[in-house]
């Protein structure tokens, strides 16, 4: 019996002109759902990005470093950024 919700590796093109970069992995029963989940989890509604999802089982690794999970910062809704909040004058360490 195959895994009902296998692992997928996610690659995102953050901006036009850049190549797809590995951003992490996720679980999904099929490619369509994997793509949808990747959008929600790794791009949180940035417009104009391109996403690839690849079954993790389809990756052949040549060296130790190749199956890791790298998480790039995501651009997001303004309230997701700390600078959105008013910090009263003089507050430190926040």
């Amino acid at each position: 019996m195959t895994d009902p919700s296998p692992l997928w590796e996610v690659f995102v093109r953050a901006r036009r002109g850049l190549s797809h970069t590995h951003v992490g992995s996720l679980h999904a029963p099929d490619a369509e759902l994997a793509l949808r989940n990747a959008r929600d989890l790794y791009t949180r509604r940035q417009e104009g990005v391109s996403i690839w999802v690849v079954p993790a089982s389809a990756i052949t690794a040549s060296s130790p470093d190749e199956k890791d999970a790298f998480f790039d910062p995501a651009a997001d809704k303004v309230y997701r950024h700390p600078t959105f909040y008013e910090v009263p004058d003089g507050v430190a360490h926040l």
Binding site: P4, H27, D68, A69, F71, R80, Y85, V87, G90, H93
Partner: protein
């Protein structure tokens, strides 16, 4: 997010905790850019190679050889951290439907959603160590792995949402920032991303309390009451005092941990005092005062017997939190089965097409 087991902030570049996260990220890139000195000479050399990587502040990656105890320690920590994110959605999620303005509702929903995302990043990091997410979820649901005791306290008023953001996320960040320099690559990278997002969480909490503390008398009382209830449980998040803490020495050697529970707890208290003053709220500790000799605040320790009771399952909300998670998992079973069945049918069709 639970009793700390982890590493250390070197002196930060920019200001504050976010600066430390960025410094950790820069250090990660810098270490990655350095030439790997050599590859293991033979299978007998694996432990030496591992030690050398850790010594050089470079990262251990998933397919590298690693000591079995290192792997197990990381799985335990990362899983516990992931579970904490998922269970931690509940106390704050409790106020989404009643958030007092549409702006606050949107922010809180986005924050709780972030926590689900953090949980998933961390489960993915744990999976690189050779354990599946299904196994980890089972361990949580069977009660064989824990989550942070703090989430076993109830959110009784809106101010509790503010207190969780300021104190609980604040304590979590103090605990987690050192993890951005953890020797295990996937965990360090996940923590960098998570810490950046948690900074928004802490600020939104502080802003809620600041607004309440400068609002009507009833709002200010609500804010003070929340601080009164969350202060000591937040201090307890750093885990038992150093004398009683397990897992320490080895984790230090592996660069998973560099600061003790008590050091981080002190750091948190020292940060909070001034922030509470600006809020105009009183930290519920009559013995809190500056110690010039130590250059730090003296403070009353949390009740560690209570911490142990809550960890063992007798906190106010342990049963409720676990029942909620189990219910959601059970209620969703038919949906997950349907998605798997649909995928299997499509896979068969594809094969038949190829064969034809």
């Amino acid at each position: 997010m639970y009793g700390n087991d982890f590493g250390a902030p070197e002196e930060a570049s920019g200001g504050g905790l976010l600066g430390e996260v960025e410094a950790a990220e820069a250090a990660l890139r810098e270490a990655a850019a350095r030439q790997r000195r050599r590859v293991p000479a033979s299978d007998d050399d694996l432990a030496g190679f591992f030690a050398e990587i850790v010594e050089a502040d470079q990262k251990i990656e998933p397919r590298d050889w690693m000591p079995e105890a290192y792997r197990k320690t990381l799985i335990r920590q990362i899983a516990q951290h992931a579970h904490s994110e998922i269970i931690g959605m509940q106390p704050e999620g409790n106020w989404i439907s009643r958030a007092p303005s549409l702006k606050r509702k949107a922010i809180l929903l986005a924050k709780v959603q972030d926590e689900a995302g953090h949980g998933l990043y961390l489960y993915a990091a744990a999976e690189t160590l050779g354990i599946s997410r299904d196994e980890l979820v089972d361990l949580l649901l069977n009660g064989r792995q824990k989550y942070s005791s703090i989430f076993n306290y109830p959110t009784l008023t809106w101010a509790d949402v503010g207190a969780i953001g300021w104190l609980v996320d604040g304590a979590a960040i103090v605990n987690q920032v050192p993890l951005c320099r953890c020797s295990y690559g996937p965990y360090a990278r996940a923590m960098i991303r998570i810490c950046k997002e948690e900074s928004f969480h802490q600020r939104q909490g502080y802003e809620i309390l600041h607004t309440l503390a400068h609002g009507t008398p009833a709002q200010k009382a609500m804010a003070q009451d929340a601080l009164d209830r969350w202060w000591y449980p937040s201090l307890a998040m750093f885990g038992p005092p150093d004398g009683e803490s397990t897992h320490s020495t080895q984790s230090m050697a592996w660069k998973i941990k560099r600061f003790s529970n008590d050091e981080l707890r002190q750091r948190f208290v020292d940060m909070c005092v001034q922030q509470a003053e600006i809020l105009g709220l009183t930290i519920p500790d009559p013995d809190l005062r500056w110690n010039d000799e130590r250059q730090a605040y003296d403070f009353t320790q949390p009740d560690y017997d209570e911490l142990m009771r809550v960890i063992k399952g007798d906190g106010p909300c342990n049963r409720q939190r676990m029942a909620h998670r189990r219910q959601a998992h059970a209620d969703g079973a038919w949906v997950r089965e349907a998605a798997a069945a649909y995928a299997a049918k499509r896979a068969v069709e594809k094969k038949e097409k190829v064969a034809a």
